[in-house]
Amino acid sequence: MSWQGHYLDGQSAQRRRATVQVAPTGLEITTDDGTTRRWPFSQIRQTQGQYAGEPVRLERGGELSEALIMPDVAFLTAVRAAATARRGRFHNPRWRLLRTPLTLAAGLAAIGLVAVLYRWGIPAAAGVATRFVPVAWEARLGDEVFARLVEPEHRCQNPERQRAIDSILARLTQAQGVGLYRLRVAVVDWPDANALALPGGQIVILKGLLEMTDSPEMLAGVLAHEVQHIVKRHTTRAIIQHASTGLMVAAIAGDVSGIVTFALEGARVVGALNYSRRAEEEADVEGMRLLLQARVDPAGMIAFFEQTLHPRERAEPNGMWRYLSTHPLSRERVAALRALARGAGPPVKLLPDRDWKDVKRICAA
C-alpha cells in the first residue's frame, strides 16, 4: 500500500509531492521528480502529528533535516505495524483516546500535589532546611533589622527597671534550654500594643503592650510566646516557605507571568497567613508549656490574651477572619491556653518585692 504526502529536502523551500511505501526495514519515498529515497526506521524521528488535525511529520538527519509530511494519521498505524522493534519512535494514534483521561488524572494529581506540598511538603522541607541555617546568620539578620527598626532614642533605657524585666526572661530561659541563642529583651517607646521576636534572640516589647499588663506574669506570658518564635526559628522558616511557595506558583503559572502570577500571588499571600497562624499556635502552646515549667502562674498569660479580645470577637466569631488573619482568633487561643493550663502546679510569684506599676515606667525620662 502506498501513501501520499510531501517531501521537504531541508535545502530549499520547495515541497515535493511524494509517494511513500512502507517496507519492512524503512520507508521508500518517491518524489514527483522520479527520485526514490530510502529511510531506515532507525534514522527517523517524529516531530509533529501527536494531536488531532496535525499532519504527521517525520524527520531524518541532523538539525537541518529532511522531512516528510503525511496528512493521513492512518499512515502512523501502518508504520508502527512494519517497524516492530522501532515502533516506539512513532506516536500511537490510539493514545489520543487516552489523552483526555490522562490529562484529567494529571490535573487531579496536580491539585492533590499542590495541597500535599502546601500542607506538609513545604513546611517539612522548610523545617529541615532551617536546621542548616547557622544561628549566627539569624543573629546578624536580627541585629540588622533591630538597628534599622528602632532608633536609639526610642529605646527605653532604665537600667534598674530593665533588670527587673530581664529577670523575668531569665527565669524562663533557665527553665528551658535555648541552645545557642542569646535572648534579650528591649522595651521601645512606641504606643502600639505589640511585641516582636527578631531572629537570633532579640525580643522587642512596645510600650503600648507593656502598659496593658497588670502583673509581671502577664508580661511573662508574652515573653514565653516570643521566646518560642525565636527558638523554633519561625522567621527563618517563613522566609524559606515563602521562597518555596514562590517556586510552586512559578510551576503553576508556567510560561506566562504578569496578571496570572498576580492572581496566584494572592493565593500565596493567603497561604503565608496560614503558615503564620500555625507558627503562632505553636508559639502559644510551647510558650504555655514553658510558663508551667518555669512555675509562672499561667493565669497571667490567659488574662492578657483575654484582654486583647476585640469587641467584635467577643460577640460572634466571624468565619472570614479565620482565613485572613495572621494570628489565631483570640477566643480560640484563650480556650486552648486554658486547656493547657489545667493541672498546673503551685506557681512561684514573679518579682514578689517589686511594684509592677513602677517597673512599667521604664520609658519615663
Binding site: Q4, H6, L8, D9, G10, Q11, S12, A13, Q14, R15, R16, R17, D32, T47, Q48, Y51, A52, G53, E54, P55, R57, E63, L64, S65, E66, A67, I69, R99, T100, L102, T103, A106, G107, A109, A110, L113, V114, L117, L247, M248, A250, A251, I252, A253, G254, D255, V256, S257, G258, I259, V260, T261, A263, L264
Partner: protein, 356 residues
C-alpha cells in the same frame, strides 16, 4: 499539493510566544477564522496564516506540564515551555505547511543557568552587597546606578539573544529562520533611544519603538532570503500625540488605538521578497481581544491562560497577511547557531507572554 515554489511566510507569533516577526497583524479583508489558506498557486495575493490550535488541547498540555513541573520540583519547567511552543507552532499553518519549533528543554535549562551565572548573580550582587556590607551612601548610590546601567544594557542583549534563539529554532518547509543582527549594535540603538526618550519626556517613543523594530526586522532571514522594513517613526507621531491627548478623556483606552496603528504600520512597512505584509488590526478589535483575555483569566483564576493564548494566536493569524507573488524557489537553507542564554536572560526581565 503540489504547489510549490510559491509561498511566503510570516512568522508565527502565536501569542507572543514567538517573538519575532510579530507585532502587527492584519490583512486585507479579514473575513473570519475559517479562511482557508490559499491552497496553492493560483492566488498571487493574499497569503494567510491559519491557526488551528484549540484551547482545550493547550489546556491539557498545560495541566500535564504543571503536574510534571511539580513532581520534578520545577526542573521540568523548561521542557514544559518547549511542549507549549511546539504545539502552538505546529498549529500555525501557512500555504498548507505548518511551522515547527525545534527548541529543546536541555538547551533552555542551560541557557537559563548561564544567564543566571553571567548576569543574574552580578546584578543581585550589585543590588544587595553594599547593603549587606553596610557601605556608605555614596558607594550604595554608585552601585545602584551601576545596576541600572547594567539592566539598560542587558535588556537589549536579552531581546536580541532571545530573538536569535527563537528564530533559529523556527522553521517552515524545513527552512530555518535566523536573526543575524549584531547584539552590540542593538545595544547601541536601544540605549541611545532609551536615553533620548527620557530626555524628550517620552515623545521620542514612536521613533524609538520603530528603530528597535526596524533593527529586528532588517536582520531577520528565512533561509537565505531577507526581511525588509522601511518604516520611520515620524509616521507614527500623529497617532502617538492623539493617544497622549486622549489618554485622560478616554481613561487610557486611546492607547489601544495607538497600539493597533503601530501594529498596522509595522506590518505594512515589512516586506519579503517583494511581497508586502498587511494588517487589519483595529483598536476596537484589539480592545475586544485584550478585554476578553482579561475576563477569561480572571474568571478561571488564572488557570485558563491557555485559552487566552489561543485567542491571541488566532487573532494574530487572522489579522495578518502577505500580499504579492513570491518566488520561493531561490531560497536555500541557511541556518545560524544560537544559544538560549538570551532567552534565559529575557525571562529575568519580562514575561514571555503579555496577556494583560
Amino acid at each position: 499539493m503540489g504547489q510549490d515554489v510559491r509561498a511566503t511566510w510570516p512568522a508565527p507569533s502565536p501569542g507572543g510566544i514567538t517573538p519575532a516577526l510579530s507585532n502587527g497583524e492584519n490583512a486585507s479583508v479579514p473575513t473570519d477564522d475559517v479562511a482557508r489558506p490559499p491552497r496553492a498557486t493560483g492566488s498571487a495575493t493574499g497569503h494567510r496564516l491559519v491557526f488551528h490550535g484549540r484551547g482545550w488541547s493547550l489546556f491539557g498540555i498545560h495541566i500535564v506540564n504543571v503536574f510534571l513541573t511539580l513532581v520534578t520540583l520545577t526542573i521540568f519547567y523548561f521542557w514544559a515551555k518547549v511542549r507549549g511552543r511546539r504545539y502552538v507552532f505546529g498549529q500555525t499553518e501557512f500555504e498548507g505547511d505548518r511551522f515547527t519549533f525545534h527548541g529543546r528543554g536541555t538547551e533552555l535549562l542551560l541557557g537559563f543557568i548561564k544567564a543566571m551565572v553571567l548576569f543574574g548573580i552580578p546584578l543581585t550582587a550589585l543590588n544587595y552587597v553594599p547593603q549587606i556590607l553596610d557601605a556608605s551612601t555614596p558607594v550604595t548610590a554608585a552601585t545602584s546606578l551601576a545596576a541600572y546601567a547594567l539592566v539598560l544594557v542587558l535588556i537589549p542583549v536579552a531581546r536580541a539573544g532571545a530573538r536569535r534563539y527563537r528564530l533559529s529554532r523556527t522553521s517552515w518547509r524545513g527552512i530555518h529562520f535566523s536573526f543575524r543582527g549584531r547584539t552590540a549594535e542593538f545595544v547601541r540603538v536601544f540605549v541611545v533611544g532609551s536615553l533620548l526618550a527620557v530626555v524628550t519626556l517620552g515623545f521620542y517613543y514612536p521613533v524609538f519603538a520603530t528603530r528597535n523594530h526596524a533593527f529586528m526586522m532588517r536582520h531577520s532571514y528565512f533561509g537565505t532570503a531577507k526581511f525588509d522594513f522601511d518604516g520611520h517613526g515620524r509616521d507614527l507621531l500623529v497617532d502617538f500625540l492623539y493617544a497622549v491627548l486622549l489618554t485622560l478623556p478616554t481613561f487610557g483606552f486611546a492607547w489601544f488605538w495607538f497600539a493597533a496603528a503601530k501594529r498596522r504600520y509595522f506590518w505594512e512597512r515589512t516586506s519579503f521578497l517583494g511581497a508586502r505584509f498587511r494588517s487589519t488590526v483595529t483598536g476596537g478589535r484589539l480592545l475586544r481581544l485584550k478585554l476578553g483575555n482579561l475576563l477569561v483569566i480572571i474568571l478561571t483564576l488564572g488557570l485558563g491562560w491557555p485559552f487566552a493564548m489561543i485567542r491571541t494566536a488566532r487573532f494574530t493569524c487572522r489579522h495578518v497577511m502577505l500580499e504579492g507573488a513570491l518566488d520561493l524557489g531561490a531560497i536555500r537553507q541557511h541556518a545560524e547557531g544560537a544559544t538560549a542564554t538570551g532567552e534565559g536572560l529575557l525571562s529575568l526581565f519580562e514575561a514571555d507572554l503579555d496577556l494583560g
